[in-house]
Symmetry: C3
Subunit: 346 residues, 3 copies
């Protein structure tokens, strides 16, 4: 069960070229490509003639040409050529999906086309600011539902257990972090404060801290699958009146979870270096450390999915640190219910 009337990350913009690419999104086979003008498009990945996948075809002047018998479709999915006949029947078309290129992402809409409003797309301007926030990005395919990956990011107490040997450090710093939570229409924001704490090894390596530090992590979940994260740290006392405009350590993470099937998803993520932007080695190092840590998340969440697929979630016990996760789930459930109501009303 997915939220259908919503924008999902279909791909990084630089993943898609004139060479068509297949990707399953919300359980539908989609072909992503750029037409002869460079415009990115998304169609159902199946020719309406004999069902061959369009990603096995190629982009030609008039559109995407099926690799089996040569039918050509434009970016709206209309057939514009059938070899061997002049008349093109009305029915000769394939489904097309609204697709918007913005901030280095390709955003796709899998629901009712008339509800697709690009104004609803999450803005992430830091991807466009290579001077102050140079970034790197990639995608991990995950054998777990998008929801389990969002869960993972809503309960950061996992840091000390899953990432003990990488970015986590001492578990109790994370368990005892002070949480400030604000609910929003499309999700929630929370800040985790870890004031006057021992710096984790990775921070000490990056910056020569003299003693204890103040740390803050700000997260915003925006349904259906975006999490915007800002992490910052400075000398102890610096955050006495809240986060300062600039910190000795500050970086941003974008997390985008897009369902592939009910039990698999794509994890699009980026790291942006905001504290030593002129130093490309720091930008690289940040990406490298996060890449290793996220493989740890992938491993635990995939094994969690296997258990839940087999045994279900009904006997699970919620605990105190699940508060943000539970609010996120209620938001998602509400939006799925709205989808259903709208479909019923039509």
């Amino acid at each position: 069960m997915f939220i259908r009337n919503a924008w999902y990350v279909a791909a990084w913009a630089d993943e898609i070229s004139a060479k068509p690419m297949a990707r399953r999104i919300c359980n539908e086979p989609v072909v992503l490509y750029r037409d002869a003008t460079g415009k990115a498009a998304a169609l159902i990945d199946m020719c309406c003639h004999r069902g061959a996948p369009l990603h096995m075809g190629k982009v030609v002047e008039q559109g995407i040409e099926c690799g089996y018998h040569g039918l050509i479709f434009d970016t709206d999915g209309a057939c514009v050529r059938i070899p061997g006949q002049d008349r093109i029947p009305e029915r000769a078309r394939v489904r097309s999906f609204p697709l918007v290129e913005q901030d280095g992402f390709l955003w796709i809409w899998m629901g009712d086309v008339e509800k697709a409003d690009p104004a609803d797309i999450v803005s992430y301007p830091w991807h466009n600011d290579s001077v102050n926030w140079p970034h790197k990005h990639t995608m991990y395919p995950i054998k777990a539902s998008a929801m389990l990956m969002v869960d993972n990011l809503m309960d950061l107490t996992h840091l000390g257990y899953v990432h003990g040997s990488t970015i986590g450090g001492n578990p109790m710093i994370h368990v005892e972090a002070k949480m400030e939570t604000v609910r929003t229409n499309m999700g929630l924001k929370f800040t985790r404060w870890m004031l006057n704490s021992v710096p984790p090894p990775t921070y000490t390596r990056a910056v020569k801290f003299e003693g204890r530090i103040d740390r803050a992590q700000m997260f915003e979940f925006v349904a259906p699958g975006s999490i915007l994260q800002l992490s910052a740290a400075d000398d102890a006392g610096a955050y006495a009146n809240g986060l300062t405009e600039r910190s000795k350590i500050q970086f941003r993470l974008y997390h985008g979870l897009t369902p592939e099937t009910d039990t698999t998803c794509f994890y699009f993520w980026s790291t942006a270096n905001g504290f030593r932007p002129e130093d490309s080695a720091t930008t690289e190092q940040l990406f490298k450390e996060i890449a290793a840590a996220f493989l740890e998340d992938k491993a635990i969440v995939e094994s969690q999915q296997a258990r839940l697929t087999e045994l279900g979630e009904t006997d699970l016990v919620d605990i105190t640190t699940d508060a943000a996760r539970m609010h996120m789930r209620r938001t998602v459930d509400r939006l799925i219910a709205e989808d259903s109501r709208e479909m019923a009303a039509e």
Copy 2:
């Protein structure tokens, strides 16, 4: 859904020896082997004692011996020995399938035994004529239904799209080929004329044509799964009154599609060199070029099967070039219906 009362290619005759071989045909596990006299036989691949597959046993004097507890079966499937007891119960037998060796094929009958008439088997004498039609053959396992592979051969407009870089050449030559079609009781025959056309690179390499050429392709589909093909080419004008007895280029292809399961099949095919039969390099080269081209068919048809398995065929749109394919499908549907009627009448 398969035609059951029909002969299918079970194997190339030279694939089968005294060493038993397992092959699933029309969804049934079959063991193929030659008994002590060299006679090829086909039994259900499961011992009637404890269910072990007979292909794990071996051929002995009296028949095929199960590799688990030593029961022996003759080529009719009757148990002729049970170690440890003298009496052999009536029920101790396994299903046997009519199997006929002819023209280098082993033909199997998966339907009602009393309807199996070897006279109905497709004749392919060229396999026996190594002087005038030296041939080579092989089998490709295909992850698509036999019907999708027959479809592929009934609409040759795919040549320019699937085989553009191999045997196809310019798409429009194939799209605009003149078709002459004749319906038959067990399928159809059609000839494709491409007169006064530019020779494809492979033809030019084989024969030093001076200019344009006349090309012809003759196809005959015989249900359930045989397609007999003759391809020929000569100097432009040569076919003004139809195909000549001998052409500068002429070769035959046999295509045999045998269902393994509903969505997989075996593709038995051969190439016979009829224009330079004394030159074994030409025989080899012909086989090699076709082998590469058929891998292209395999790739597109397998990906087509994946889409049809998921999304079905109901929304597909037929086009003009589907005419032969549609007639073929109607023939197959009629024969499946006859199977059902006969079974209901029994």
Copy 3:
């Protein structure tokens, strides 16, 4: 369908350490580990918080710590720590399974806990007698049901067919072996006498026999999955009055079959050298020969399982040599029925 109220081998004792190990037993995911005191324990392999498998966690002072959010469970499955909160709710617990370490095995009970009586566990003292019966052991994962593997050991006529080139030798020696069978409450015992027979090659290599030999094999099946085997051989005439206390060749095999799923199992087996116990090369050689032979059983039984999964057992024909196997099956069916009756009565 398994017998549930019974002890199964969960693991060799030396397989389990403080590093948790996942193993599916009777279709349930189990985690096996030793706590800080070295005591072996078995819990359901799924945390009650968010469903992560406990085998991805680690053993700490208080118990096994979930690798996701740090909950800790003791060997009874009670949660003893939840990071971030003081109160531990009653429901925060996972299922634990009775586990007994004995004779080098870890025995697990998958049924009603109150019926678990360690006195019912099969005794196998030879594993503790490294002076007179030095042994070696291992486990083979088998893609067939535990029942098919027990079947295999109840009809030894398979020796000449499956193991003809290894430990089997001439098939007819095994087919004509004289069987003495005694039924027991939990299964049956049988002895196979092969008096005055030609020694198999492996025996001749081990002992310089002058001529023919007397051989005996004693098997005891104890439900649900243990088979205790003693094999012995001496000069012809030696067993005129039954087995002697000591034979020129004598070795013991333990076979333990534990269901993993309905169609897969674990085959725990050991070989104990009782005829040249001081010679470690003999102990090694015995293990090596049996290891090769049991791979032959694995191959035939796995292929048998594939056929029975597809085509069922209903049309199979029992033969004379199936007597012991059929009695074993009746015993197992009775115990499964008792399980059901007890569950219905509760």
